[in-house]
Symmetry: C2
Subunit: 219 residues, 2 copies
């Protein structure tokens, strides 16, 4: 039996860590090295995530090599130029002003892959995405663990996954789920940058919760 | 500035919560009610998750109604019968012995949906899955918050998402990401049930970590 009981202050501390977690972009990472021990703790947190059918379908490439980072930045720049055109007028201007990645600044990058199982996986029969979703649970564990270690983490999604796979010599069957930039930071902003610049407004939880079904009045 | 510094004991507590988190299945939920306040804390944790372009693309249906739960159980039973056939011999026997859901036992179920944005989302240009992945980050926050509240959570994925959407009268454009069972439990097992019965073995983190690229020797 493992009925460890957590206290109210434990619960509040977890909430604090969640509240203070930020997505870290460019112009914010410090040059200060991140120790192997710290990276190990972050990876260990990943391994404690839930996974469908206990499949643990995650693989991690830890990147410190500058030449590799430069190639990934090239992929970002190509995709970012395309992405900018999706927005109009004021938003395009705001978009161009944002520095959306810290690939070279961050001392450590971690590419996170989903490695599909070669055998049937319990729980992944009907919902095929469950394998990838398990990998995302691992990433959220890494994010929270990083914050508790006072280390910043940013998820760069403006990348062509196939280009990144080629750069990292990934097996063809693997899928790139995330490309993470990790390092100490100048600051953890009080609120997300995109909230601060009014890119999007924060949704109140009550506006996205329904009772029993979508047809019934909201909470 | 928000440079809150967490301590070593804060980091260790987070690790404890991650270590003691379990997927809760059938024959383990207690009848004890879960208060609105507790459910609210779990939903609040979801809203603190990172989301691509601050899109917060999540919606939640909180289910306490027995008739609705019965319909969801029907969908589970249909899919579970199909799933069982994927496994052979000993594994099929083991599979049949597992009680893989606690839908009716758990006082609260929460269906978690991804609601795609009608406008372009920053960061979701190249990697379209980023919206769903944001919802999964929210689910992992819910899971950890539940555990810190000493409340069990189980993710049921042996369901037909389209059937569940119909039962819950979901808008057609929404995607069911997860169906969660929530309640107090008899026990949080020491190790995952699937590890205990040797369904799968635990992977050492060193076997899934690579340095700089897949072609370089492992850590």
């Amino acid at each position: 039996m493992n009925n460890k009981t957590f206290t109210v202050s434990d619960q509040q501390l977890l909430e604090e860590i969640m509240l203070h977690r930020r997505d870290i972009r460019g112009n914010n990472f410090l040059k200060k090295q991140v120790s192997e021990e710290t990276i190990h703790k972050i990876l260990l947190a990943a391994s404690l995530a839930p996974s469908v059918g206990f499949s643990q379908p995650w693989e991690f490439v830890v990147i410190r090599d500058n030449a590799t980072k430069n190639l990934v930045v090239n992929s970002f720049e190509i995709e970012n130029e395309k992405a900018e055109k999706m927005f109009c007028d004021e938003k395009q201007k705001k978009y161009a002003e944002l520095k959306l990645e810290g690939i070279k600044e961050a001392p450590v990058n971690i590419a996170v892959f989903y490695k599909p199982s070669t055998r049937p996986v319990l729980g992944q029969n009907t919902m095929k995405e469950m394998g990838e979703y398990s990998v995302v649970c691992a990433i959220q564990n890494m994010w929270l663990m990083s914050r508790s270690l006072n280390v910043g983490l940013g998820w760069v999604s403006i990348l062509n996954p196939e280009s990144v796979k080629k750069i990292l010599k990934s097996p063809p069957g693997n899928k790139l789920v995330a490309y993470l930039c990790i390092g100490y930071v100048k600051e953890f902003m009080n609120i997300p940058e995109l909230e601060k610049i009014n890119w999007e407004t924060r949704k109140s939880i009550n506006t996205v919760v329904y009772q029993d079904s979508y047809s019934v009045d909201r909470q």
